[in-house]
Symmetry: C2
Subunit: 236 residues, 2 copies
């Protein structure tokens, strides 16, 4: 049995789609963002099982893209549900490894070291997420007021979020709840604690054209930094 799987939700039923190319297919250094994301996990471990979740109406578009770009990273495709929750739940049925991660399609800049840390912590503690400190002042908003909070008490959550597959499956067997903001919150709601690992600052979510520009700059720097990294060859 292989050790790792990663589920990559790249949009649900496409309800927010318009005529434009969805952001996960926009090119980052001449290749669609989502391909960069898949390549990253393949670099981490070339035996990792990748499950890409796409809106049903984008699957053939994706298959064409793969042909156009001669994209050969092994992955399976499944159709997304009406909410991210249902997309992950469906994809989980295809997972047969001990550990599974869930990762945003539009975060190609996750570092190999971040992936390694979060899988290692998940193996040890059952559930883990990569986090970064908040680096601006924050306020908490209540009904008719707001107050300063100590940003040191908070952290920003990135992906991949990693779990024992059994734990994530148990968590996803519960009813859907609007308060689920990410996979960790689904797991937490069944009483599990979440381990925190160090993320990487450049692991931004690409959601605007400016993000895409920034991502290209960060990508060049990261390629340079990771050239000598051995994670791809390492067995954890």
């Amino acid at each position: 049995m292989q050790h790792f799987s990663v589920i990559i939700p790249a949009g649900g039923r496409g309800k927010r789609m318009n005529a434009e190319v969805p952001k996960q297919f926009l090119p980052l250094m001449d290749k669609p963002v989502v391909m960069r994301t898949l390549e990253k996990f393949h670099s981490f471990d070339n035996r990792i099982k990748i499950i890409l979740v796409l809106p049903e109406n984008q699957i053939s578009y994706w298959e064409n893209l793969c042909r156009t770009y001669h994209f050969t990273i092994p992955h399976r495709i499944t159709a997304g549900g009406s909410e991210r929750f249902f997309s992950v739940k469906n994809a989980l049925q295809m997972v047969d490894t001990e550990l599974v991660a869930v990762h945003d399609a539009v975060r190609p800049l996750v570092s190999l070291a971040s992936i390694e840390r979060v899988f290692a912590a998940a193996e040890k503690y059952g559930a883990a997420v990569p986090v970064m400190p908040v680096n601006e002042s924050m306020r908490k908003i209540t009904d008719n007021a707001n107050r300063a909070v100590d940003r040191a008490e908070y952290c920003i959550v990135q992906t991949p979020q990693a779990f024992h597959t059994k734990i994530l499956s148990d968590a996803y067997s519960q009813e859907f709840n609007e308060s689920f903001t990410d996979d960790a919150s689904v797991v937490e709601s069944i009483g599990r604690t979440i381990a925190l690992t160090e993320g990487n600052r450049e692991n931004i979510k690409i959601t605007t054209p400016a993000d895409l520009h920034l991502a290209e700059i960060l990508w060049r720097e990261q390629v340079f930094t990771e050239k000598n990294c051995n994670f791809a060859k390492k067995t954890i």
Copy 2:
């Protein structure tokens, strides 16, 4: 009497300085970041009184820069203290307008609309800060645990933070406290409430080389957007 002043702290005693050029002097579109910041406030209101707070050992460097760049935006210079708190407190003694804002030197991308909104709210409510929603999942860290929090209950605080001068002076007459993270928190600690206004997403704090690259992209977009903006001519 003029209506607005803005205090721009650009480093204290320079204790964290090393041999490199401090980030506020790095060029953004061929001109030091802090000059871009001053220009922005001058565009908003060409009668605004600008007080730039510099580390004592950088004042002559700055004066040389002004000559080199033929920089003629009117401003006064004062030396910074050991903490940002003391820098603002000192600068406040030079303020003789009814309203005063405090703005990070490394945020040249504040929009004219953001400045207008925060001054208008400060005039009405006494104290106001521009905020933006948090757009990633967050967790709160407690002693040996952490938990998901609803990011909709929080906001990220930007600058300029604007106040009735009397209120800000009263707040700064208290003792320094390590828990002061920004000017709003100083004002809040004397029992004042803070009004929130809409900030602008591109108003990033430039703290890394990648930020500077991003800032250049955002700068070009903003110049395009604000070309037809009338705030500079408008009397509030």
